[in-house]
């Protein structure tokens, strides 16, 4: 008996699920400070040196790697399903999947590169 073609959906779902929790737990506070409170001058932003020192800490690098990687794949999976279901683009499934997951992979490569060179 030959085994049927295995779906890659579980792997994508693990990345999507992990990313979903990380987006929920951590992204709101990031956008709140870096996107709103610091730029609007409502909270005093730390200096360039302070921010650089924070990002260069090994734990911060590991945290940012996990956060960005899983969030990229979470976004890719959901953007794909949004385009297929909400925008009725099912006939472009292969192209959309390639662009979304490919984009997440490119984002991950950039994340590693930037965290290693910062």
């Amino acid at each position: 008996m030959s085994a049927g073609k295995r779906s890659n959906e579980p792997i994508v779902w693990i990345l999507f699920g992990m990313g979903g929790f990380l987006v929920a737990f951590f992204l709101p506070v990031h956008v709140l400070f870096y996107g709103l409170l610091f730029p609007a001058g409502m909270v005093h932003a730390p200096s360039y040196q302070q921010t650089l020192a924070l990002v260069r800490h090994p734990l911060a690098r590991v945290y940012l790697f996990a956060l960005l990687t899983f969030c990229f794949f979470h976004a890719a999976h959901r953007m794909r399903s949004t385009m297929l279901d909400v925008l009725n683009l099912r006939h472009l499934n292969t192209v959309i999947a390639f662009l979304c997951y490919g984009g997440a992979l490119v984002g991950t490569v950039f994340t590693v590169w930037l965290l290693m060179t910062v």
């Binding site: 400070f33 730029p39 910062v118």
Partner: protein, 136 residues
């Protein structure tokens, strides 16, 4: 003689409006929740730009900060925050739907499963805020 009809009935394919998600609030909420992914991707890319500016020099980082202070960016980021909150609340409220919730063979209320997520969220937000602002 084979027993079949020459003209097979066509498969029933209900036509869906391109704007089906406007039909009722549940559909619209679903579409909005799924659309949060575009803002997640946007903010991740923005964080990469921030890292690239940080890794270059103080002048480039100051330029990034000035770019973030543009009113249009603040509006987009406020919208992104609203989408992240929608994602977080719907995600945490989904937890009771996907996990076993029984104590002594009796089902527990939804809040027992979702509340710990809200507590972790609150704790994580406070701790990260202290690091981000340079207090810790």
């Amino acid at each position: 003689m084979p027993q079949y009809t020459q003209y097979q009935p066509k498969e029933h394919r209900p036509k869906m409006s391109a704007y089906w998600y406007l039909d009722n609030w549940h559909y619209l909420r679903y579409a909005l929740r799924e659309s949060s992914s575009f803002f997640v991707a946007y903010f991740c890319v923005l964080t990469l730009v921030q890292l690239a500016a940080l890794g270059t020099n103080a002048t480039r980082y100051a330029r990034f900060e000035a770019f973030m202070a543009h009113p249009a960016m603040i509006i987009v980021n406020a919208i992104a925050l609203a989408f992240f909150l929608l994602h977080a609340i719907t995600w945490f409220n989904l937890v009771p739907r996907v996990m076993m919730r029984q104590i002594l063979a009796r089902p527990t209320p939804d809040i027992i499963s979702s509340a710990p997520n809200y507590l972790v969220w609150f704790g994580a937000t406070i701790i990260l805020a202290l690091f981000i602002t340079g207090v810790l």
